[in-house]
């Protein structure tokens, strides 16, 4: 599915909306994992508005594509994209984090329509996504499972257990995308626990690797299309991203892994996002 300039323009509108939404929800929630939410915004937008075969009016449709966002702390980005895609009203997100709300910072698949797995404890998403992919293959279903990983999350041994198994079982209906934003809570990934040579690690585990700019829809589309075509081995897309992308004062600043904004900072954040998309 090559991407057209019109599609890119449309996706950019969604991306602008999502970044504005993330700021709103962070404000309503009294704080959220905003940095890592902003870094996967474009990945979520291209999946939800171009690739995922889903029907929000039938959230449990048997042959829908599945998406597990293993970095479950990005709930602040997933909930609004689900709302904008039509699973539920965006206004419900004003209840984020509130008493008895269906929306906590790590989304519960039993409470939030459109969420395919309850994630948040890191390292759990890829094994579950692999189970979904094996289940689809066994039942001769042609839907695709997507899994979005954080890069810091790849310190977890279960990621590599699942990677080993995905390649052993020659799973090709699973597309893994790593949000390579280079930061984790305590600092740069390469200082806390180095991942490099990251692409080589995935190759050594039997994956075909695509390294792309995770904020470039054209590049992401090319990598996802490539992943769909492969029949021999699983594919991982290492999406090079910027933590906090779109809010200038948050970008590449480790302190915005989780944060809350006063009204002045929220205003500046919106101005920054608007400027990025020429909406100023």
């Amino acid at each position: 599915m090559p991407i057209t300039p019109e599609e890119i323009a449309e996706l950019k509108e969604h991306a602008w909306q999502l970044r504005r939404d993330i700021i709103d929800v962070t404000e309503w929630a009294g704080g959220a994992h905003i940095g890592g939410g902003l870094s996967i915004a474009d990945i979520l937008v291209i999946l939800y508005f171009k690739y995922l075969h889903i029907d929000p009016t039938q959230p449990e449709l048997a042959n829908r594509d599945r998406l597990i966002v293993s970095k479950g702390h990005a709930g602040v980005a997933i909930a609004p994209v689900l709302a904008r895609r039509g699973y539920f009203s965006f206004d419900l997100l004003s209840e984020f984090n509130k008493f008895k709300s269906p929306f906590g910072m790590h989304l519960d698949s039993m409470k939030v329509k459109g969420v395919d797995a309850s994630t948040g404890s890191l390292g759990h998403g890829l094994p579950m996504a692999l189970g979904l992919a094996l289940g689809a293959r066994l039942q001769q279903q042609n839907w695709t499972t997507y899994c979005v990983l954080g890069d810091g999350e790849c310190n977890e041994g279960t990621i590599w257990e699942a990677a080993m198994a995905a390649s052993h079982f020659k799973v090709t209906n699973l597309i893994t995308i790593v949000d390579r934003n280079q930061l984790m809570i305590d600092g740069p990934t390469e200082e806390v626990m180095s991942l490099e040579p990251f692409a080589d690690k995935w190759r050594a585990f039997g994956f075909l690797v695509q390294e792309v700019d995770g904020h470039d829809f054209n590049a992401l589309a090319g990598a996802i299309d490539y992943a769909h075509e492969q029949q021999e081995a699983p594919v991982v897309i290492i999406a090079k991203t910027v933590k906090g992308k779109g809010v200038e004062y948050m970008e590449n600043d480790v302190k915005w892994h989780y944060g809350s904004m006063n009204s002045v900072l929220a205003h500046r954040a919106r101005q920054s996002v608007d400027a990025l998309y020429g909406k100023a």
């Binding site: 579950m128 996504a129 692999l130 189970g131 198994a165 052993h168």
Partner: protein, 338 residues
């Protein structure tokens, strides 16, 4: 008699086959009727006997290697895709190594995942504490949505494995190493998840037990009747959760003395579950627990360990006589407490 399969496990079968082998066989039968059943193991397909299912349905079986956390995550995904995974590995790795996957991936999402945990308790006593599992019931029963079953023997395991298919949501079935002697003569005794089986009637004292302790308690009850003239009720409380509260409450009012026996720590297992029910009832009751004390176990063959920790017939006899020897009936408050 397994109504669905038309197969009966006679005592002959049970003597010929270990409990774990019966489980493997039953799963094969179920696999024929239920194409959605898939099997998983972590390099223990043969030890856990799920390998029988693998031989019969190689396409529906995943050996994930020595990676239990990954296995339970994969099982969650398979269940999410509409399949019914049966997952087998040792109890110690299920309840400890992969505890978070069992809790967060399977129980939190209330997935239809059936776990057959083998080598439970101290049945693999010679392996030492790295492989013994006397904390698993405490851990598993604390997970919301989880059903916890400890069958008495291979025949009850067959019943439990069949019954769990019609019991939606996660189920933890804990069996031994597979060499345990059999109590039940056939499958035909009205097995039902959540309902204790009264295997001996009595009014003097109730032994509430599960797993290998059931056979020992039954033998002890026969001896106590013959030698001491005591009528001891014995309940096979195979389902630890949800617990059969009515059976426990009846034991409190009918016998006023309860002894629990389990191949598990005295902290958090069957004894604790029974104690919760008794305490909540507000009724007085003499109560003792036999189990593994709060310490890591000795090394040894299971029979030796059962004898050491008082889980065998002799241990039960000693404890029952001790409880019966107490003169709490002379306590003037007793009547008020009952």
């Amino acid at each position: 008699m397994g109504a669905e399969t038309g197969t009966t496990w006679t005592v002959y079968d049970a003597n010929k086959m270990t409990g774990a082998e019966i489980y493997g066989e039953v799963l094969c039968q179920l696999g024929e009727q239920h194409p959605k059943i898939v099997g998983l193991s972590a390099d223990l397909a043969n030890s856990t006997k799920i390998g029988k299912f693998q031989q019969k349905f190689p396409d529906r079986f995943f050996n994930v290697g020595i990676a239990e956390q990954n296995m339970f995550g994969i099982a969650a995904g398979l269940a999410r895709s509409g399949l019914t995974p049966f997952v087998s590995t040792m109890a110690v790795f299920t309840s400890l190594r992969a505890a978070e996957q069992v809790r967060t991936d399977i129980c939190y999402q209330n997935l239809n995942c059936k776990i057959i945990a083998t080598h439970g308790g101290i049945s693999f006593g010679t392996a030492g504490s790295t492989h013994q599992a006397h904390e698993d019931l405490a851990i598993m029963r604390s997970f919301p949505n989880m059903t916890v079953i400890v069958p008495a023997d291979g025949i009850e395991t067959a019943n439990a494995v069949r019954a769990c298919l019609d019991h939606p949501g996660p189920v933890y079935i804990r069996v031994g190493r597979g060499f345990e002697p059999t109590y039940y003569k056939s499958e035909d005794y009205g097995y039902e998840i959540g309902r204790a089986v009264t295997i001996n009637e009595g009014t003097d004292l109730t032994i509430i037990c599960c797993g290998v302790a059931v056979l020992q308690a039954a033998e002890a009850a026969a001896i106590l009747e013959r030698e001491d003239g005591l009528r001891v009720r014995v309940l096979d409380l195979h389902t630890i959760k949800p617990i059969d509260e009515q059976a426990v409450l009846s034991a409190v009012t009918d016998t006023r003395r309860i002894l629990t026996v389990e191949e598990h720590s005295v902290l958090g297992g069957l004894g604790s579950a029974v104690a919760d029910v008794i305490a909540a009832s507000g009724k007085g009751c003499a109560f003792e627990k036999i189990g593994v004390p709060d310490q890591f176990c000795l090394v040894g063959y299971p029979e030796d360990l059962y004898a050491h920790y008082g889980l065998d017939c002799n241990g039960i006899l000693t404890k029952v006589r001790e409880i019966m020897g107490r003169d709490f009936e002379e306590d003037e408050d007793w009547e008020d407490e009952v």
